[in-house]
Amino acid sequence: MARIGLSAAFTLAIAASVPTLASAETIDVAIGHQSMCTDTYTAGIVIKELGLFEKYLPKDGKYADVDFDISWSDYSSGGPITNQMLAGKLQIGVMGDYPLIVNGAKFQETDSLRTLYVAGTGYNLKGSGNAIVVPVESDVYALSDLKGEDVSTPVGSAAWGMLLKALQDADMVEDVSLKNQSPAVGAANIAAGKIAAHSDFCPWSEIMEFRGTGRKIYDGSEAGVPYLHGVVVRQDFAEEYPEVVTAFIKAVIEAGQWIESNPMEAVEKMEKWTGVEKEVLYIYFSNGGHLTLDPTIKDQWIEALAFDHKVLEREKAIPPLDFDAWITEDFVKAAYDMGLDYAADKAEVVDPEAANAGLPNEIWHAREGISTYATLTEFLQAVSAFNATGAKLNSTYVYDKATGLKLFGKTAFYVKTSDGTYETFLRKPDADAYAAETGGTVIDLDTALVDFTTEG
């Protein structure tokens, strides 16, 4: 509220000062972003903090005499951004798949106002990023254990859509009582053990895992619907200033390049900007992380969005959405004239299971940074050795054998097979099955480390 009040006061101040610069036209560009949603960072906090939008803004032709007034507003979900865009207070918004659908459909419901879906920011092909989390002490290990329980989720978010899909797939829609809780409230309820489970979007599930309050029992990848985020722009704005929209997407592309070129530096900077721990951000933005940064608009995304729209139509009576009128590649293609190949990027789809196969496990030492270990045995030896010297480890990362997803070393389930090798899993049922298959035992990190301290 204070923020809105402040920005209103600011707008007034700007408006009051305009007459004195009568010669120059001022173009207001207000962007709504989400600093608590990792997948939007390349179209939000990174551009804002690095000043990338300003870098690409057009300065010649009809813009030669123009001043830009760029303002950024931070929201905790997509709904309020759509509200502000409808009110004409924001021109550009960035949000996840379900809120995007609401955005497009709600605009098309009005007489004359429309938005355009102009670019993506990032995705996870299998749907990771959304997850269902239970309190860490809970004895729930699988979705089916939640029968008869309360499960909360931010209604209308991508995590809500994922939860609906998961419950439908498991034929459990009638067995679970759904509650609406915003991410911060859900996380507080998980920490206090007041709710059986909470379904949330990135980075909340990992924040709960990292802080030791929650444990994932269901990853969005099990629902199998891609999880993506994108940029919507008010059509009237895009038609009047198409070069400005293209400039924004160029900034999105450069923001992605900046993260990919040095994930370590990027997550440290982003921690300062957003307050989300760098160890949590690393699980998204590092090589092998959950998030594939990619501004292109793929046919699969349109299919996924159409699927999401059907869910919303059925569950929440969302008005129809004309995808052809809503989605346009014109701007993102124009932005690719930076010497990049749009068709190639569009055709490339990263599947974590294939892409992460063979990636080394990682230990993040507080002073010495990241070191990598090809096998889990080496990894465990190293963790044990670090622990013996009392070294401070920021975090450790391993991969889920079942899905290829990056995991925190401390929350993974370890299987010690009969021949003394190790595998790591996100979910206990997967670990149990693998242990049964290989004659191994399921253990946690501390137990696994005991082996190494006694042996070594």
Binding site: S77, G79, P80, T82, N83, L86, A87, G88, V102, K106, T110, L113, D150, S152, P154, V155, G156, S157, S177, L178, K179, N180, Q181, S182, A184, V185, A188, N189, A191, A192, K194, I195, K316, I318
Partner: protein, 303 residues
């Protein structure tokens, strides 16, 4: 509203001290007929007094509705923008749709239950604390700092702690409702009790009344107008706070309904929720006033 108002007002005035109001039929026909006639006359007179006010109120509401309709019809946009505000007809449509939905009633009943529990607790604790603070210097010195420090804290700020501290979600929402109602009740009770005229207390004392009798017959009646004002304000604020609790967390409740509509940008339902809250809040405040009226009879008698 008009008809409901006439009844409780007319009854105490019409009751002659010796004759119980619900006397057996036919027991005293002539006085009863006279009483009925008197009652009808008085009711009519009351309508004559209140009628114009009601009419003005009705006209005010209707013209507000009409302005809202016109503003949305012509997409009024000067400083305030009505372009995407739902029209009264659309809101009414949404309202009818909700009325046909069983869940809407659950939302309302759940909210009413939370109000009832939170409010009753606040009345008990608030009146007790208010009386204690007004009658005992120690109690006042002890409790007053808490009241003053906690009072300005908005209900929403309590949300995270309420979740942590209370065993269930329901209890945390009721707690927030309770807090909202508590402070106006405490402060009004305290001021009401303090205002009791010393002359009356001394008069009662000189007639040989005990401390308890003085409290029961002098101080408490004297404080009742102020207490009942506090109760009415407390009811309003408890609705205000309840919504903060429901908005943040929950599954049912009219505040939750409104917030849920917001997360899906469903403007007609948002307005339905807002107006429902307004109506329920008004109704509850009115019921509090009606319930307090018999206790305030002495005010009219002494006039």
């Amino acid at each position: 509203m008009g008809a409901m108002q006439t009844k409780p007002k007319a009854t105490p005035e019409a009751v002659a001290p010796a004759v119980p109001p619900q006397g057996p039929p036919g027991a005293a026909e002539a006085p009863a007929a006279a009483r009925d006639k008197g009652r009808a006359e008085r009711a009519f007179a009351l309508l004559g007094r209140v009628g114009p006010d009601l009419a003005v109120g009705l006209v005010a509401l209707l013209s507000g509705l009409l302005l809202w309709h016109l503003a949305t019809l012509y997409n009024f946009n000067y400083v305030i923008n009505f372009q995407n505000v739902p029209s009264p007809l659309r809101v009414f449509d949404a309202f009818l749709t909700q009325l046909a939905d069983e869940e809407f009633y659950i939302h309302i009943l759940v909210s009413l239950r939370r109000i009832l529990i939170g409010y009753v607790l606040a009345v008990i604790l608030g009146v007790a604390a208010g009386v204690a603070m007004a009658r005992s210097r120690f109690a006042r010195a002890f409790i007053y700092p808490y009241i003053e420090i906690l009072r300005p804290i908005p209900a929403v700020a309590w949300i995270p702690l309420a979740i942590l501290m209370w065993p269930s979600e329901e209890s945390s929402i009721v707690y927030i409702t309770f807090l909202g109602a508590l402070f106006p009740i405490v402060l009004n009770t305290m001021h009401g009790v303090e205002q009791t005229s010393e002359v009356l207390v001394r008069a009662a004392k000189s007639l040989g009344a005990s401390r308890l009798q003085i409290f029961r017959h002098v101080i408490l009646p004297g404080a009742l107008p102020s207490i009942s004002a506090g109760l009415a304000i407390g009811m309003g604020v408890s609705w205000f706070s309840l919504l903060a609790g429901e908005i943040i967390s929950g599954q049912y409740g009219i505040g939750y309904f409104t917030w849920n509509a917001y997360s899906l940008i469903n403007y007609p339902d948002i307005v339905v929720g807002m107006l429902m809250i307004g109506a329920l809040g008004t109704l509850c405040t009115y019921l509090v006033r009606v319930a307090m009226r018999p206790l305030l009879v002495w005010q009219r008698r002494t006039r």
